[in-house]
């Protein structure tokens, strides 16, 4: 648990962080967001004392951070930054081992931990252990950066715009991975970004700052639905509010039972239906095409949905491929349900869906 109490930072008489108080429960994913110069990065860096605070208190699991020796404090807190800050003269393994080495763990334990973390971030230890940072792609380097931050199993993980410098595609992959790692490790995370979509994709709590002050601290959907004032409304962006909401909703919440097509009489169907192959994988869709309601359409890999997919992405695929329903498949590619326009409109799915969601 992280508590900020009346946190204030003054530079030359100017309050860049002004009386910020909030509590982040253990295991939560808190995102600090706001326009440039709102004090979000300063707030983050006061937590591990890279910037000394001027007034107020910060407690981590009840301990006042200013009461601990500063290096000892930082070794208890994971820290990942934009452009990774990897040590260019050290191999990937040695980079990941930075904090365990500072803590003088025995070598065998460090090696195990490095392998474990690299596996967690889907970097094959055999391939990547001995590589150097300049041999990695942006996404791989960023994964190593986060793995390094988690190496000594810190109580808290601080991330300062870690995905700010990677391309949008890689960023989405990294966000998905971060969601997974958060779910697997249950770490308390404080994450700074200026990108609302990123905040919505990751946060369990969003703290919106402006001019050094905390404007609203709320769960993502609540913030979307009930913004505290005009600034919040404007910052979230009114125009695509509906899409933003969809980015917090997932296919498993809205999927419905898929209707299988009968062996014969496809042309007499009054509703769309799915054709599956011998293994149960969706092969074609009868009906449900916008331009030709009676057509039979071969299922393409690009418009298959998974239960973990956000409804925003599902909608995007429906629009792009001009279909009103997507097949939902399990890990083996078998048809388990479908998701369609009613789901996009926020109409809950049926029993099978709720079962999958639980």
């Amino acid at each position: 648990m992280i508590e900020l109490q009346g946190l204030t930072k003054t530079y030359a008489g100017k309050r860049v962080v002004d009386d910020v108080s909030l509590t982040l429960q253990s295991g939560e994913f808190g995102v600090l967001i706001g326009p440039s110069g709102c004090g979000k990065s300063t707030t983050l860096k006061m937590i591990n004392r890279l910037i000394p605070l001027s007034e107020g208190r910060i407690l981590i699991n009840g301990d006042d951070v200013t009461q601990l020796p500063v290096e000892q404090l930082r070794r208890r807190i994971g820290y990942a930054i934009q452009s990774t800050g990897l040590f260019p003269h050290w191999s990937v393994a040695r980079n990941v081992a930075t904090v365990p080495q500072l803590l003088k763990w025995p070598k065998a334990r460090i090696d195990d931990r490095v392998d474990e973390l690299m596996t967690l971030f889907q970097l094959d230890p055999a391939e990547f252990r001995d590589k150097y940072p300049h041999q990695l792609s942006g996404g791989q380097a960023q994964r190593v950066g986060v793995a390094r931050a988690l190496a000594a199993d810190p109580e808290v993980l601080l991330m300062d715009e870690p995905f700010g410098a990677v391309d949008p595609l890689t960023r989405e992959t990294l966000q998905a991975e971060m969601r997974r790692v958060h779910a697997q490790t249950g770490k308390t995370i404080v994450f700074v970004t200026h990108d609302m979509d990123e905040a919505l994709a990751l946060a369990t709590r969003i703290a919106l700052l402006n001019g050094g002050r905390l404007v609203q601290y709320e769960r993502p959907i609540e913030m979307l639905v009930d913004p505290a004032d005009d600034f919040v409304r404007e910052f979230i962006g009114q125009a695509d509010l509906g899409l933003k909401l969809l980015s917090r909703r997932f296919v498993h919440q809205y999927q419905r039972r898929a209707r299988l097509a009968p062996e014969t009489g496809l042309e007499r169907l009054d509703e769309h239906a799915w054709l599956v192959d011998a293994e149960g994988r969706p092969s074609a869709l009868a009906g449900a095409r916008l331009d030709d309601a009676d057509a039979i359409t071969r299922v393409k890999p690009e418009w298959i949905a998974t239960p973990e997919m956000s409804m925003k992405e599902a909608l995007s695929r429906m629009v792009w491929y001009r279909v009103t329903a997507l097949p939902v498949v399990d890990r083996d590619g078998r048809l388990i349900a479908e998701v369609g326009m009613p789901g996009v409109m926020g109409i809950e799915g049926d029993g099978a869906a709720r079962e999958a969601a639980s």
Partner: protein, 395 residues
């Protein structure tokens, strides 16, 4: 391929230029000089007068081979480079051998006081061999280790010529034989002066460079002071130190007993240290300042102490730049130590100034050649060190 439309004749302009320069030099400058005694200037002897037919033939073959390597036709460019490189060794060997051989024959029929010295064409041939080798090594992009091996081979060849009696009849080598003991002593003195200046320069310069990264105010003051030293002419500094050091040795007798005096080793080392400080401090500062800010922030955020950040991150990343500074300073100190001979510090410079005074050019060479060799070897070794210090991740 454009090459097929416009066939090029010249493949390696550098090699061709060197070839022509050497050819013109050999045509115009004497290969050796023959004089009746040590102090009289001698008769010029041209290459074709000095060399017997078989040596001229061999030289012609080498020249033809080098010309072939310079032209684009007939050989692939890499093969041409290898050919050029390979021919530099026989060129070097033949030039040295021919001079020694000529001296032997010429002196056999002259008076005992007669002397044979090397001439301009001799030096030009050696220089051409060296430059052709450097050019070929660069074009072949050989690893540093391979270059070192080749340099060792060439040095071994020269060393073998010096060790054998082949060159002994030369005036320069006779001078060396006369001065052998002094030569060794002055050589050791030269090295001691360079080492004695570099150690304090590093001991002072590294911490000062560190201070420069920590405080802007210190940095500005430090660099302006050190810049002043760098702009002072070395002879002036040696001269300026004489009076205060003499006074100091007089006022503090135990310093005088330690060897501090207005002339000699003490002012030489002080001046060399002053000259060495700026490059050491500047490169230490530049190396440390060049470490990316995000890397340092990450190190701090991970919980490294200032000392750990310096030793584990800052210095390893700055080391190549710091060693480049050491390389500059070492070569500079080897050269400046020559001047220190003027105030009685000794070293190879002593031969040079003695030779200048006596108008004995061989004595000047006896000081100048080892100084140059020393500088080139030190430069090369430190280059190796710089390459080795580059962290594997940034090579």
């Amino acid at each position: 391929m454009p090459r097929e439309h416009t066939p090029r004749v010249i493949g390696n302009r550098v090699l061709l230029t060197l070839w022509l320069a050497a050819a013109i030099g050999v045509a115009l400058l004497p290969f050796a000089t023959l004089s009746p005694n040590r102090l009289v200037s001698g008769q010029p002897v041209m290459l074709w007068q000095a060399l017997p037919g078989w040596q001229l033939g061999a030289l012609g073959l080498i020249a033809a081979g080098l010309l072939l390597a310079a032209l684009a036709r007939g050989l692939a460019s890499r093969t041409a480079c290898w050919l050029g490189l390979a021919l530099t060794l026989p060129l070097l060997g033949l030039t040295l051998f021919a001079l020694g051989d000529y001296a032997q024959r010429a002196l056999a029929e002259a008076s005992p006081a007669a002397r044979v010295s090397q001439g301009g064409a001799f030096w030009l041939l050696l220089l051409a061999a060296a430059l052709i080798a450097v050019d070929a090594l660069q074009r072949l992009r050989l690893a540093l280790l391979a270059r070192a091996l080749f340099a060792l081979l060439a040095l071994g060849l020269i060393g073998a010529c010096l060790a054998s009696d082949l060159l002994a009849p030369l005036s320069l080598m006779r001078e060396f034989a006369n001065q052998r003991d002094i030569f060794v002593a002055q050589g050791l003195r030269h090295l001691a002066l360079v080492g004695g200046a570099l150690l304090p320069a590093l001991a002072l310069g590294l911490p000062l460079g560190l201070v420069a990264t920590r405080s802007r105010r210190w940095r500005d003051g430090l660099f302006s002071v050190l810049n002043v030293f760098q702009t002072l002419p070395s002879i002036a500094v040696f001269g300026l130190l004489i009076a205060p050091l003499a006074a100091l040795a007089h006022a503090v007798p135990w310093l005088g007993e330690l060897g501090v005096s207005g002339i000699g080793v003490a002012p030489a080392i002080i001046a060399l240290v002053l000259y060495s400080l700026l490059p050491v401090v500047r490169n230490t500062y530049a190396g440390l300042a060049g470490v990316p800010a995000t890397t340092l922030e990450a190190a701090r955020g991970m919980g490294m102490t200032s000392r750990q950040i310096l030793w584990r991150v800052g210095l390893p990343l700055a080391l190549p730049v710091i060693l480049s500074g050491l390389r500059i300073v070492t070569v500079q100190a080897i050269g400046l130590t020559v001047v220190a001979a003027l105030i009685g510090a000794g070293g190879f410079g002593a031969f040079i100034f003695q030779g200048l005074g006596q108008y004995a050019i061989d004595l000047v060479l006896l000081g100048a050649i080892p100084t140059i060799v020393l500088a080139v070897i030190a430069d090369f070794l430190l280059q190796l060190l710089v390459a080795a210090s580059r962290p594997p991740g940034t090579r």
